[in-house]
Symmetry: C2
Subunit: 310 residues, 2 copies
């Protein structure tokens, strides 16, 4: 059968043809609603528009990456990243490292271990180090979408303010988790040596051992494929060995600083919405013509938070 006919036959057949099917339509006889069906039924008020002061547009040669900062978890880092962006610090820097099943990292290729961060030092207002911001006190007034199936690493996991997170009621603390697409703050050896001037995105199995050892600045909302679908670096830790292998960052801008016409209309499904709860439940107990044995369980980092709009 030609690709043309295959496409004509549509998604549900394509799914039947070329399994496994992760997130697409199921055949008509599906018993569990599909993500598409659930999202079509969602209400406008279940979606939120990220604050443009928290939204970064990273322009790479292949396309754009949208990142939402998490200032309620890491406020000092969010503020410093905004400052760096407004000073055009990232423009012309590069993706310098892609380590398979771990992270893609970007920053200044000329950084070193002595604090001789030439470009960073030349800037006026951005801080070169920050307090660690690994955890924050649990705020019982904020919505918390708890997951029912437990977690290997933390006493409790779920979603807070749109991000995957973990909690420990004994300590009264909560923290963001290193799930796929989360954006962390690279640092030197000491816990207070990060600044946001070099960041990484998780591109493999969630390295949850990093939780509470590194600050998390936010999450990739769109364009993750431009960070994950890169050739892996062949140097130690996945660093690119030749400058020509690095991917140049054309620019990073705050959406708040863009002309209104260029800001886009990106929306994120609220993690405290009924539709998000229904999506989790449908994935926990997926049962259709293809999936005969529902897992009945789901782990935190296997849950996608839907994003829509250009």
């Amino acid at each position: 059968m030609s690709r043309f006919v295959l496409r004509l036959l549509g998604l549900s057949l394509l799914c039947a043809v070329s399994l496994p099917c992760a997130s697409a339509d199921s055949p008509a006889a599906a018993k569990t609603p599909t993500p598409k069906e659930l999202l079509e039924r969602s209400k406008p008020e279940e979606w939120r528009k990220p604050d443009p002061e928290n939204l970064l547009l990273m322009q790479l040669p292949q396309g754009r990456v949208m990142i939402e900062l998490a200032p309620d978890f890491t406020p000092l880092h969010a503020a410093n990243i905004r400052t760096l962006v407004r000073e055009h610090y990232f423009d012309g820097l590069a993706v310098i490292r892609v380590q398979d099943n771990f992270v893609s990292q970007w920053g200044d290729p000329e950084d070193d271990d002595k604090g001789d961060k030439s470009k960073l030092r030349s800037l006026g207002k951005a801080k070169r180090t920050l307090p660690s911001e690994y955890t924050r006190p649990i705020d019982s007034k904020l919505p918390w979408t708890a997951l029912p199936d437990g977690d290997v690493y933390a006493p409790e996991v779920g979603f807070s303010e749109g991000f995957p997170a973990a909690r420990d009621k004994a300590s009264g603390q909560e923290w963001l988790t290193h799930c796929y697409g989360m954006v962390g703050v690279a640092r030197d050896v000491g816990p207070e040596t990060g600044s946001g001037s070099s960041l990484y995105a998780v591109i493999g199995q969630a390295p949850r051992g990093l939780d509470r050892n590194l600050a998390i600045a936010g999450r990739v909302l769109q364009g993750m494929e431009y960070l994950s679908g890169l050739p892996r670096g062949t140097g130690p830790l996945g660093f690119y060995e030749k400058p020509a292998q690095r991917l140049t960052i054309q620019s990073i801008r705050l959406v708040a600083d863009l002309p209104a016409a260029e800001r886009g209309k990106l929306e994120v499904l609220r993690t405290d919405s009924a539709t998000f709860a229904a999506l989790i439940e449908a994935k926990r107990n997926r049962r259709d013509d293809f999936y005969k044995l529902p897992a009945g369980k789901i782990d935190l980092c296997s849950i996608n938070i839907p994003v829509r709009g250009p």
Copy 2:
């Protein structure tokens, strides 16, 4: 600091400079032994040479991918894949799909849903469908390396015969798990419609909901970066939309069929060895100058099984 100097300073400094550090040397003051230190102390008998009858060499334009079949879990699939390979079925086929945070899949671009698998049909001996082989009875005579920290999906997880696996003593069954790098059998809607003629490798967060819904044929031992570091397909489910985007498979061969000089000397650390247990423990409780807060836990799919040799 130039890249040249950075390299001269060696890996442990590079790690300190450009964190996070997943699997490389830790600084000299490390309290937990590093993977490198543990592997250097390992004994020859802790390593096994995979049976060349179970070892596939997949030649891609960028490099070679070594895959170990798991015939003790999926014997009919292993046998059929060997037959397909010996009939040169895969030669000239392609990686047809790369779905971000899910799978890279290869097979015949001309496959369709009517069983009209033209190339497969033209072959003599390979079967076009197989029984599902999703689970097998627990064999108490085989070594089982149990993990101590639980699992979201299964009553018990660990390693059996070199592969990550899950068990349910209540049913007496065990099964391979969809961890990063595991190779599964694509199929149509019915559970018994797979044959091994189209396979996928996991390239993201372990999609454990697929466990016991799809057969697992084996694991990528080397060259995973050639399957994971590919541009994502832009069609539904990550299929490449244009034939030119597909990556041609030059050939797949059984190592047993190669001349002795070309078979290589690949070795895999035994998952029932003391060194493997020490590696797991060091990762569970990593504590060094960089990691201040050991997780004290590890999940099944975050454990790497070391491979060495060309």
